[in-house]
Symmetry: D2
Subunit: 339 residues, 4 copies
Amino acid sequence: MTEGAGKTLDFAVFGAGRMGRIHAANLARQPGVRLRYVVDVDRDAAAALAARHGAQVADVDGAFGDPSVGATVICSSTDTHSELIMKSAAAGKHIFCEKPVDLAIERARQCADAVARAGVVCMIGFQRRFDPTFAALKARLDAGEIGTPEMLIVTSRDPGAPPVDYIRRSGGIFKDMLIHDFDIFRWILDDDADTVHATGSCLSDPAIADAGDIDSTAVTIRTKRGRLCQINTARRAAYGYDQRFEVLGSHGMLQAGNVRPTEVVGWSKTAVSQDVPEAFFLERYRAAYAHEIEHFYSAVMQGTPVRTTVADGLKALELAEAAALSWREGRAVKVGAAG
Amino acid sequence: MTEGAGKTLDFAVFGAGRMGRIHAANLARQPGVRLRYVVDVDRDAAAALAARHGAQVADVDGAFGDPSVGATVICSSTDTHSELIMKSAAAGKHIFCEKPVDLAIERARQCADAVARAGVVCMIGFQRRFDPTFAALKARLDAGEIGTPEMLIVTSRDPGAPPVDYIRRSGGIFKDMLIHDFDIFRWILDDDADTVHATGSCLSDPAIADAGDIDSTAVTIRTKRGRLCQINTARRAAYGYDQRFEVLGSHGMLQAGNVRPTEVVGWSKTAVSQDVPEAFFLERYRAAYAHEIEHFYSAVMQGTPVRTTVADGLKALELAEAAALSWREGRAVKVGAAG
Amino acid sequence: MTEGAGKTLDFAVFGAGRMGRIHAANLARQPGVRLRYVVDVDRDAAAALAARHGAQVADVDGAFGDPSVGATVICSSTDTHSELIMKSAAAGKHIFCEKPVDLAIERARQCADAVARAGVVCMIGFQRRFDPTFAALKARLDAGEIGTPEMLIVTSRDPGAPPVDYIRRSGGIFKDMLIHDFDIFRWILDDDADTVHATGSCLSDPAIADAGDIDSTAVTIRTKRGRLCQINTARRAAYGYDQRFEVLGSHGMLQAGNVRPTEVVGWSKTAVSQDVPEAFFLERYRAAYAHEIEHFYSAVMQGTPVRTTVADGLKALELAEAAALSWREGRAVKVGAAG
Amino acid sequence: MTEGAGKTLDFAVFGAGRMGRIHAANLARQPGVRLRYVVDVDRDAAAALAARHGAQVADVDGAFGDPSVGATVICSSTDTHSELIMKSAAAGKHIFCEKPVDLAIERARQCADAVARAGVVCMIGFQRRFDPTFAALKARLDAGEIGTPEMLIVTSRDPGAPPVDYIRRSGGIFKDMLIHDFDIFRWILDDDADTVHATGSCLSDPAIADAGDIDSTAVTIRTKRGRLCQINTARRAAYGYDQRFEVLGSHGMLQAGNVRPTEVVGWSKTAVSQDVPEAFFLERYRAAYAHEIEHFYSAVMQGTPVRTTVADGLKALELAEAAALSWREGRAVKVGAAG
């Protein structure tokens, strides 16, 4: 039997939107786990999610005030993350928090400190590391299948841009969208960035430019050991959600491809066709979301370390800031230096 | 809201083996559904499954005797299927039963009659019709994408032969393994068999021949409308579970391919490689098992017809008998005739 | 230097149609080789081909009467093959002849005898054995990569039926179209047929049925060692020329897939698409035609044995006759027996 | 009949190495074309190539001095290109020249001027534009299949680094290897570079670093219209010659994939495998070399414009210089400006 056998865990979820519902259901499915409180400014959404799991609607203080709550799942809007993390840490509750920790690095650092002082588990939702395809690639890389990794090419494209209102509050494409790709970079190349160069354009909708942002980026990172990474992103890929990367190593290459809904192949007069990729992140990363919460669950119940820490969140954020600076100033930026 | 909203359903499961555990969990996950009884000659297995779902262990009479039980899920050994179907029908309980209905056609016919008289839902577990890839192909075929279907090629290979003891009680490869392929044939070509020709060999293990069976078959069916179907099967494919088919139509072709665990592609000095297919039926048809139980649940709660009836079970069995006869006598066999 | 260095070879081609032009060009490209005569009832076609290679137009006797002619390439209509083979043999000239040797087995046997007596090289144009994909598969099979071959599935579909006039003179689909597939069967499984079962239908054009033929077939062969082969063919595949086969062996599987004109992949809103296969045999087997003539050239110049002999032509013809008999009489046929 | 019917063309080839032999054979195969002279400092190589085509060995002056020579094919070492181009132009002979025009942009400009003044055809050997896959992609892009191109990702990797002696004289990786990729960029995105950023590393062999060069590069180009291009290259890909690119457009994506020697797929216990790509440029671009010479032939015989002019060679060279500067100075470089 595992160390955690027989233990129970009650948790509260902050945010009853899409991600809150997914994480709550995945965590509540674990043995011995119970959803106690749902907190959301939208009381109807909170009530609906609570009803589905036999939980109660609460406000922030109510949820933190109950000592029987052992963990919090934070899926509320980005601007609430850091405050909720710090309150959870202060209350001694373990934390699962969606990315990003905060749009401001300084606040994110304070969170990291608070978590460290409190000694609670704090896992940031970089779910891609738990995707079966990405995780299998990483395991084969670590097993030495292609020798030393030398070059990483990341393709990360959304099926369409979010509303401009969202973009305005998003912190910009580098913090909002590429934050995941920067985490993939760190995870796969296992090295620190030395310089970052980023450029980009607004090609799909001038309203995005008016909001001070871009919708297409081309980022290059050179690591301290001289490894190279190129990331290309677009807010709009007409064919859907495109999530691929490939690693060139000294002895070969590993590619992580898109996932298709079905394996039907159609042969017509003009083409041999397969499905377009899974529509968007909810479909593409369905398994990843389940696996990351199981990982969090194990960490809490058995005291094992988490794979995506608040420190990882910080590092990704630093890269996002460096990339944004590079784009704005049109020059390569030294990471970790004054710029 | 759907018609079934608010209704509840208690059910009993017969057989606490692999399939019993999967079906019980999938059915118990539906809203308003509760597992009440687990029946198995192996009391420990029954108790373990019951405990997981807050159900009770019962014997056959106990389960049938409780009027609150609205449905039965039959996953016990093949020789018990027909008796349990008839008892369920007599008790007015809806039935989900694993294939085959019975190894003897006459018994299967009696089941069909009993179910019809009782007016209960009876669904046979031809889960392949619920596989996302197969179902998508069928939907596109029905939508006319490739015109009239003319030819069907089915490849159906297991990763390894079961123990010879199992084979001895299996009814032979045509009833045990090809039963699924015969159902696929009827479903896809939407036509009745006119003649069947089957040949085969024992190539992997002489013990299978000693048990009076074969491990490799080549079956050809010509339908009443002149459509053609070829089925090739093997008990042992070294690379794993191979489940493919393709339909040639007057305007194109549709293929249903294998499903891979991940989308990693490895490039080495000698090859560009992908994963072998999902290991066996539990993995390959995981989604199909969930979908077929949801379908059964809808049929019971909302009175909609089931896609895989006991009549389908009978038809597949008739084809299996005709194929076995063809193989034994080395001649093409007219289906539905005296042979 | 090879044994053939410095030798020269003059040859005559019979038939100035598509295949005659291809073979003449491929053979004339070899070092030391010269096209001397073109023979065709269509004098214009003969003259055009002759002009391209600096050759002369001749009649049959003129070509055979010139002792400087060392080899003949026979690409004229099927009903002339056996006579030209026998005249070539009588004149001591090496022979490359398109399939089939003759529609009548007895005539084909006489050709085999004549060739054997004369001691000339006689190669039959089963070009598929020289296709890079098929030949690589065969080499890997022979190297033991998948252990013992146990099952062969052949898919062989034309993009459209030829004119009914052609079909009427073709000898029927088994001799005209499946002759190639029967040769693939013998080559890949390396075993003799024990029984053949064939069925078929006319699904694309009733005029083919009126001509006494079918356009779709399903053939099963069981070999003397118990290996199984299924061949499916159609005169009309809307998506083009479909030429695939796969071999299941005791340790794995090898598949030979179609060849695409380009490796462009298009991603649209609805599909991820590749090219349809090469349009027809002239495109699909372009390399194979070149390789088979190089093989013939080597055999003639260096005395090495040919890979596709007149005996292979005979064996394929016997299988075609057995299949046709099986189809007409609706029963499995013993090969090599009275039927 | 075409305009060029009946015309003849005699040509001289400079350089009897691999590319000289390929181009000479491809050009000599065109109707009415004859190879007259082979010029090479290696007299044996020149003699062998001349013998194969019934040509004569000559020195530079001999070849240029014969007025019957209408065209020159320049495949000699890079440092001789510009002089031979200028002599050809002065002699009024049409020119096909391997890339690059010259390592020094100033010399290349002089060539462009000389060619323009002389009014001769001058085609630079950017053979990739004639590759069937790349050319089909470009045609579909131009036909509007994916709307406006917005982003281009180029993967260009060699199977292994050339000898360090070669690298030392190569002009550096940007002029030697990426010159082709810069031409692909201009051809596909149909736009001028505004800024270039390049970084790189020496990861495979320290001797390359000692020679002042790198073996891995990551280049980003932003065009005047805001389109983005990322190019990744490596001198050593363990799995072979990797030549891919993909274009993201406003309505979809087009990818150009690698070409495999065969379409065999092997299924083993552990993997489903295809061939690695064609080994190197001679194999990968065999068809492209034939098509580009046919294109040159048409241009000369019929006066049609060439697709890859000396101006294209100049532009690619300018990009290579800008990239090299960016790499050396660690900053993005404005193209066409003082830097």
